[in-house]
Amino acid sequence: MNQTDSSCPNFQARLETASVLVHRAIDAVRQKRIQKRNLIWLELTGCSGNIISLLDGANPDFKSLASQMVNFIYDNSLMAAEGEAAMDQLFRLTGGDYILAVEGAVSTKNDGLYNIIGRRKDRPVTAYEAIKKFGEQASCVIAVGTCASDGGISAARPNPAECVGIQNLLKRKVIKLPGCPCHPDWFMGTLAYVMLFGEPELDDRQRPLMFYSTLIHDICPRRPYFDQGIFASKPGEKTCMFKLGCRGPVTRVDCPIRKWNERVNWPIGDDSPCIGCAMFGFPDKMEPFISYDTT
């Protein structure tokens, strides 16, 4: 009951979405039908989990993205340059054309001094300053992960650094890819779509419908157990985890189809409830992550 139905054409088509888009974008770049765009990836107030997740991408993988699809100009975890040389690489794009991907929320307390992403000309560059400067000028802004999209764990109670999602600080549309972390397919597919066709179709919270259109509950392989009222009483059981507080019924994303770690598994497939990491309000509004003795 944990296996996704591999014969379903809907699931098959969705599994290929990111791969089709990325390969089409790479072909278009190679044939010079579209421009190879500059990509800046800012790691702000977060755990850097989204860039690590991106490295885990498979068909499409990160290497194809960075070498054939975009000019990956700046990411503090991956670039060779360091210190002021790295910051110069970032600031050299000021006024130029680039797509901005942002992970992490933005600390706003004391003018952002709780998160300094580098130093330039002997003065600190805060996450707050960076998002204001590069966010307003970018041709497209993609919030990667829950913290950038909505504050996420960085903005969880009591939120001592007064973190907010990047939309709070930008007077422009931000495409949001919530998830803790963001699945590599969600980012790469969205980026490829932006390069090929412009803005993808978004829902009323600016999430791309191609990845965020269905509730986990609606495509969960354990849905028949819910419908029959057969519920797990503790993690590890193979039935529906609704009574344990599963957030699949309120979380809108395609994890059951796409799965994680090269499509090997996902939380419910490993007998653990969904904690709603891709839903706005995570983590505070998704707690408690587990409940026992529920009737």
């Binding site: 809907n10 088509a13 969705r14 290929e16 979405t17 089709v20 888009l21 179709e201 419908l209 191609m210 259109s213 269905t214 509950h217 609606d218 819910f226 009222g229 985890m241 609704f242 009574k243 344990l244 507080g245 599963c246 957030r247 699949g248 019924p249 309120v250 409830p273 309000g281 505070d284 509004k285 998704m286 707690e287 408690p288 587990i290 409940s291 003795d293 529920t294 009737t295």
Partner: protein, 140 residues
């Protein structure tokens, strides 16, 4: 527009979407159309449930429902054998098996409480209450 009109609208949309699916070879467009279909199915499921519950509640449920004080309601928190009830606008609903109330909690709210203001701030105008099972009223 009543629920029966909405059902007809959804069915017409589904018919059009299926026609489009026959003619498209583009996988992105196909995905969008399939998403449309899924949304229609979800809408229909909600509307049908609403009609069924409407029929059952019209008969007797609310008139025979019991009266709750806030303290009594607090006991119905979905734990240790108690069902999960919440009150909205003076009516008490059973959310024990409502999917969005996993573990008898919902977006930071716990069952056993009056959630009128939270409901109004998040779900105003949405056809949700009609689908819930009514179990009684709050005492004035």
């Amino acid at each position: 527009m009543n629920d029966r009109d909405r059902i007809n609208d959804n069915l017409n949309e589904m018919s059009d979407t299926i026609d489009c699916l026959y003619t498209t070879a583009n996988s992105c467009v196909r995905n969008k159309l399939l998403n449309h279909l899924r949304r229609n199915v979800s809408n229909l499921s909600m509307l049908v449930q609403g009609l069924q519950i409407g029929e059952s509640t019209n008969s007797s449920q609310i008139s025979t429902g019991r009266l709750f004080t806030p303290d009594e309601l607090a006991g119905y928190n979905g734990k240790n054998g108690n069902p999960a009830y919440v009150a909205v606008n003076g009516i008490v609903y059973d959310v024990s098996n409502v999917a969005a109330w996993g573990g008898a909690t919902h977006f930071g709210l716990a069952a056993g409480a009056d959630v009128t203001s939270q409901f109004a701030s998040c779900h105003a105008g949405q056809p949700i209450l009609g689908k819930l099972k009514m179990v009684g009223k709050m005492k004035e």
